[in-house]
């Protein structure tokens, strides 16, 4: 198992949240194979991954920048852009799909004027697609700010979104 000998670059800013990232890296022994774990922590703390964060994590773990970038853009869980104030996630798993998830997505995109994966220009709502939330028995399911809306229908959903 390779370990990085590089330690010592200081955090990009004096933002206290970097400490949480540092703690995570230390716990993982600054091993390059901890990259995904550290990116998880960084995104949890900051909400997204910007260039500063990617450089810092890469340099601290001894992973070249292009590799960090390759990893961060490979996994759909990571985002390089800040997310909206609210999140609206439409499940597009098979059970939800055959129960009308595409109609829900279309209604939401129309209501908010953004495509899945994007955030409204005012930064209010991010619309996301999920592969399967495991809420198949309530299909089609939509999760708005962590709350699951089962057996969702477009009209009711639009109501909820308007009241956010």
């Amino acid at each position: 198992m390779a370990t990085s000998t590089f330690v010592g670059r200081s955090a990009p800013s004096d933002d206290k949240r970097w400490r949480q990232v540092d703690v995570r890296m230390r716990r993982l022994g600054y091993r390059p194979d901890g990259l995904i774990e550290v990116l998880h922590t960084t995104q949890e703390v900051f909400g997204y991954l910007d260039d500063d964060a990617l450089s810092y994590v890469g340099e601290s773990l001894g992973v070249p920048p292009s590799k960090v970038y390759g990893v961060a853009t490979f996994y759909s869980h990571f985002t390089l852009k800040p997310q909206g104030l609210h999140t609206c996630v439409v499940c597009t798993g098979t059970a939800c799909y055959i129960n009308g998830a595409s109609a829900l997505l279309a209604a939401i995109s129309k209501e908010l004027g953004v495509q899945p994966g994007a955030t409204t220009p005012d930064g209010r709502v991010s619309v996301l697609k999920a592969r399967c939330l495991g809420a198949c028995s309530m299909a089609p399911a939509v999760v708005i700010d962590g709350e699951v809306h089962g057996h969702a229908v477009p009209a009711r959903l639009v109501d909820v979104l308007e009241k956010l």
Partner: protein
């Protein structure tokens, strides 16, 4: 603190939660409140607190109120089971006090309510090995697991069996990998056990359950994580590994939380860590969280991901059994496979071998969803027929809809038509029917589902999840998706269909990993059983299910596309 998964998965509550109510003596009645993801998203955590308060307020000292894992009938959540009375209470929404009151008076012995479990075909057809403790133990209490015989298998293996005897027992059980391919588990263990490993070996639990419409592994991890850990530790002993990883999807924060807590408790009580069961065997387990990539379910991609890189697969051979994590021999099994192991060891391989069919032994867990009445998590002996699963366990289709197909195996699987409903569910029969067992998603489709659209749905999935490393999958899935899109929008001719079939055959044969090799399967299986639907779209511009936006009128290509904008013909007019 509460964190949402950025993918929007239900929030996971951290910190202290109210303790379960457990009477000093034997309980007269227990309210087992389901705390798996489905019921939680319907408010079962609040229900637990409400019930607890109500039982305390009524002074019912001999009544238990406990958190348990998945009770199975997810469609009717939030669920509470009272095992002493053999009753299941459905839809106990915390917002409807009447339902809670009924339940409490039943617990107090005043009335008899709820659904009787014994005679219910949803339950009576099931045989529980993997889900043995789902719905009976508290997923976060190791003592519950131990009290029901947990870790007996591990301690038996460590104290009275040699590693080769353990492997022999697994071989004798006939257990095959539950992740999809169905490779005999015992043989794989033996290969890893025999591999030379100057730098150690690893055991990896694949919990990157990515098939859309599948939540078996999630339920097992959320309901009884200890059983999986025990299986891994036994595997570690058998193959000579001292480190294990569980690779879990980031979309399953609750599973991650319960698993992490289970590891801590097991280490605390000496079921994991150094000198397990007083022997010299040591075994450590770490959780690694995926980050949203279906391809990481492929074992070489999973290894790349655990090593912190892009989850792209590698050509096999060499197989992970000889060269896996950091080049060391690595045993990779999925959650359900490991969850079978403790029983195989404690009860013996012959016991599991008596369940199932000639070549498919034991049980299989399915996530039964779609257009069926009883959606939920089930475990059935191998060899039950699809008809029994859909119409008896599943209770048939909702609202008198007409059955059309059942999809198994996820994006690499296939759709099985009505004419094959009486076939037995086992590895070989499913494969012969053009599908696969897969990890256990089973989605029932009715006459409102268009089979071309279903094929397109899965192809859309595959093209988005393709890692992009090998050309046939990267470009082939995209091209197949476009061809399917042509069919559903009435822009296709029969020559497009022929093109689709050729391309599908080529992608299947030449792709680097299972994702690409399996991606054409939904196309092949829908063409095999529902070719008429394709032709109706192409020749007659008709979508029988009324799903696809095929325009009325003569087939495309015969007409000039309309003029649009400045001197342009609107797109796509390839005949």
């Amino acid at each position: 603190m509460s964190t949402d998964g950025p993918d929007g998965s239900a929030p996971v509550r951290h910190g202290r939660q109210p303790e379960p109510l457990i009477p000093d003596g034997p309980a007269r009645a227990s309210a087992n409140v389901c705390q798996a993801a489905g019921c939680l998203s319907m408010g079962s955590d609040q229900l637990f607190e409400t019930l607890r308060a109500a039982v305390l307020a009524r002074g019912l000292h001999d009544v238990a109120v406990r958190r348990v894992g998945c009770l199975g009938l997810c469609a009717a959540g939030p669920l509470v089971e009272v095992p002493e009375q053999g009753r299941l209470f459905e839809r106990v929404h915390p917002g409807e006090p009447k339902r809670t009151e009924d339940l409490v008076s039943s617990l107090a012995g005043e009335t008899v309510a709820g659904r009787s479990v014994a005679a219910d075909p949803f339950f009576s057809h099931q045989v529980k090995v993997v889900l043995e403790r789902c719905g009976t133990v508290d997923p976060e209490r190791l003592e519950d697991y131990v009290a029901t015989g947990g870790y007996e298998g591990l301690s038996k293996a460590l104290t009275s069996m040699t590693p080769e005897e353990v492997i022999a027992e697994v071989v004798r059980s006939g257990l095959r990998g539950r992740g999809g391919a169905g490779y005999p588990t015992g043989l794989m263990w033996r290969t890893v056990a025999k591999a030379e490993a100057p730098e150690g070996k690893y055991v990896v639990c694949n919990a990157d359950e990515g098939d859309p419409g599948a939540f078996m592994d999630r339920s097992v991890l959320e309901s009884c994580p200890q059983q999986v850990l025990e299986g891994m530790a036994i595997a570690g002993y058998a193959v000579g590994a001292h480190r294990g990883y569980v690779y879990v999807r980031a979309e399953y924060p609750l599973a991650v939380k319960r698993l992490s807590s289970a590891i801590r408790q097991a280490e605390r009580d000496g079921h994991l860590g150094p000198e397990i069961a007083g022997t010299r065997f040591n075994f450590q387990v770490e959780v690694r969280i995926g980050a949203g990539a279906f391809v990481c379910g492929e074992e070489t991609a999973l290894i790349a991901s655990i090593q912190g890189g892009r989850g792209t697969p590698k050509p096999r051979p060499p197989y992970p059994a000889s060269s896996g994590l950091w080049g060391c021999p690595t045993l990779i099994n999925n959650v359900e496979t490991f969850a079978n192991i403790p029983s195989v060891i404690s009860r013996g391989g012959d016991w599991l071998n008596t369940i199932g069919t000639e070549r498919s032994k034991g049980t299989k867990v399915f996530a039964l969803t779609g257009a069926v009445t009883n959606t939920g998590l089930i475990e059935v002996p191998m060899g039950l027929t699809l008809r029994q699963i859909v119409f008896e366990i599943g209770g048939g289709l909702a609202e008198g809809r007409k059955f059309k197909a059942v999809q198994t195996g996820g994006p690499s699987g296939g759709c099985i038509p009505e004419s094959l409903l009486d076939m037995a569910v086992d590895y070989e029969t499913l494969a012969a029917a053009g599908s696969i067992m897969g990890s256990g998603g089973m989605i029932v489709m009715d006459d409102r589902t268009c089979m071309v659209d279903v094929a397109k749905f899965f192809m859309d999935f595959c093209r988005e999840e393709s890692c992009g490393k090998c050309l046939p999958c990267r470009v082939g899935t995209e091209e197949m998706y476009r061809l399917l899109d042509r069919v559903t929008t009435g822009m296709a001719t029969r020559s497009h269909l022929a093109q689709l079939e050729d391309l599908a055959a080529m992608v299947r044969a030449t792709s680097l990993c299972g994702l690409g090799q399996g991606a054409p399967n939904p196309v092949f299986s829908t063409l095999r059983y529902f070719r008429g639907e394709y032709l109706a779209h192409i020749d007659d511009h008709v979508c029988q299910a009324g799903v696809c936006p095929v325009p009325a009128g003569p087939p495309a290509g015969a007409t000039e596309a309309a003029l649009a904008g400045t001197a342009t013909v609107s797109s796509g007019g390839r005949p």
